[in-house]
Amino acid sequence: MDTQTLIYLFVGLSFSLYIGIAIWTRAGSTKEFYIAGGGVHPVVNGMATAADWMSAASFISMAGIIAFAGYDGSVYLMGWTGGYVVLALLLAPYLRKFGQFTVPDFIGTRYYSKAARVVAVICLIFISFTYIAGQMRGVGIVFSRFLDVPITLGVIIGMGIVFFYAVLGGMKGVTYTQVAQYCVLIFAYMVPAFFISFLVTGNPIPQLGLGSTVNDGSGLYVLQKLDLVLQDMGFGAYTDGSKSMIDVFCITAALMVGTAGLPHVIVRFFTVPKASDARKSAGWALIFIALLYTTAPAIGAFARINFIETVDQTEYAEAPGWFKNWEANDLIAWTDKNGDGKMEYRSGDAFAGSPEFTGETGKNGERLIANAVNTESENEVYVDKDIMVLANPEIANLPGWVIALVAAGGLAAALSTAAGLLLVISSSISHDLLKQTFRPQITEKGELMAARIAATAAIVVAGYLGIYPPGWVAQVVAFAFGLAAASLFPAIFMGIFWKSMNKEGAIAGMVSGLVFTFSYIAYFKLIAPEANVAANWLFGISPEGIGVAGMIINFAIAIGVSKMTASPPVEVLKMIDSIRVPRGAGDAVSH
């Protein structure tokens, strides 16, 4: 079978698996729709959390970012795993003991206030929509490259699949599909990693391969060789970063705390039976995540070596098939600055911005670009970081079924995260806004219907953002973490650990953290992107890391306001005592 047939086969099989699971696990009550009935085994929940968490960004983009950023890529590795320690130790068991359905549920009850609940819903919707648009873009990329369908049709197919299992199955359907999706995505990630690690170093375990010597007889370690080769070509050393220490520190912290404050991750811990299961489940989730996250830096380094060796100084006419495939998809471009017909890969941009193809081809057969050529650099090659994972099996000449597997894995990663996000958006609308705030008399059946309608509407909006991505969407995805760190995390954390935190403090803190962080990001990314350089940043902290400053502002204002206003009522103090001890966490309170 040729590769294209295999891709259709693998993607088709994985999609029918997800639909089969959706039919098998339909949700019949709000409790099943919101928290899968509350009886999910901690290991199963850990696996579902891992798929929920690992998005198109983790699967498709992260290794590519590390390949080009070297040490600087560590912020994602530490940030997106260290958050689970914060979650497991400081939040998850207490929220499970509290035992309701959503994150705004906790904030609304702990701060005895409908206003606090509504502010939490606004934060949640902000965070979740910035995140979901990126997933739909990932679906579009995979479809257009591997399945040869237009991005629009690809996004619509993806929407259809998510609609089927998220709307029908709710949290229950999503949980079991996520388990299947985890298996697909981790298998798809690890198989090419084993092959490539073995090819480059002779050691098939990528985590060990990255610390081994290269298989080319030079006796150099992988990282040593990368440092040497890159410095020769005018790049900085791979093991050195270019970001300042304070920025690396703040971005890592924003990602860690943001992870712990992401509603679609937190809500997964409402589905296990006991408070102690929430801790255990977070541990398992991190094991499943660590498998991919410790492999990603190895893939990044190997991909960079392979890319340089295959592309640099190769004649365009001799370029491998994958180079031309991705060029046809706009993600690679080559402009022959010195007219020698060879591709020079060097430090610096080949030209300004992303390639704008003129539609004509040059004398070597390459697609010509309209961009102004950057004469200060000898670099002639433009490459989008996103393709490193997707192209890696082709670069390393792996068999067709491995390529097909990667396509199915990328889709699994994007769809599982999209479904988790859709679910928290829909439950915050049907449960927090309707049932708990504006329409308390709604019946359970009506609430379930409202949840399904809200999920459908959210899918349509997400799909629209995927088909017509506003220019800022891709960049803004990473900022969801900063917003979560600056808004929801302090309110939840203080709600558990500081009894004197009251309604006024929580609301003032959440609003100021969100407004500060959002304004800082919007200023540098949307209003004045040309000013987005280290010299203009507050204390040298980039927009990616500013969530930490937002969090500190939130804490300071929340504590100050709480000290000046009335302390929380006695019932709330009793509730805090009750969530602090694990005993008695039975079923989630149905209401």
Partner: protein, 103 residues
């Protein structure tokens, strides 16, 4: 929108309590907090410490082909995170049994 008080689920603890936890629960809580301080310190040291602040110093040592600071930033910290969560799970179970508060 009016922001009137809303109902709060009845806590399952002692109905006579006045918002102050009993002595046993307080002892349990302070032991938990001590453990949290220790573990969060380790969490900070392996990531922000070894992987960022003291990376340049640690990079003079190596672990196989990895400079040590780089290893902590891209591998080691993640392994320690996993161990931390499972240690906390195990230790908390023991503390909860000691105070008869386990679930």
């Amino acid at each position: 929108m009016t922001d009137q008080d809303i109902s709060i689920p009845e806590p399952k603890g002692d109905p006579e309590s006045d918002g102050e936890a009993d002595a046993n629960e307080q002892a349990y809580w302070s032991e938990n907090i001590r453990l949290l301080w220790t573990l969060m310190a380790v969490w900070f040291v392996v990531s922000f410490g070894a992987g960022i602040l003291f990376r340049d110093f640690l990079d003079q040592f190596s672990l196989g082909g990895y400079p040590l600071g780089f290893w902590f930033a891209q591998q080691g910290s993640i392994y320690v995170f996993v161990l931390l969560i499972f240690y906390y799970t195990w230790k908390m179970k023991r503390i909860e049994r000691k105070y008869d508060l386990d679930d």
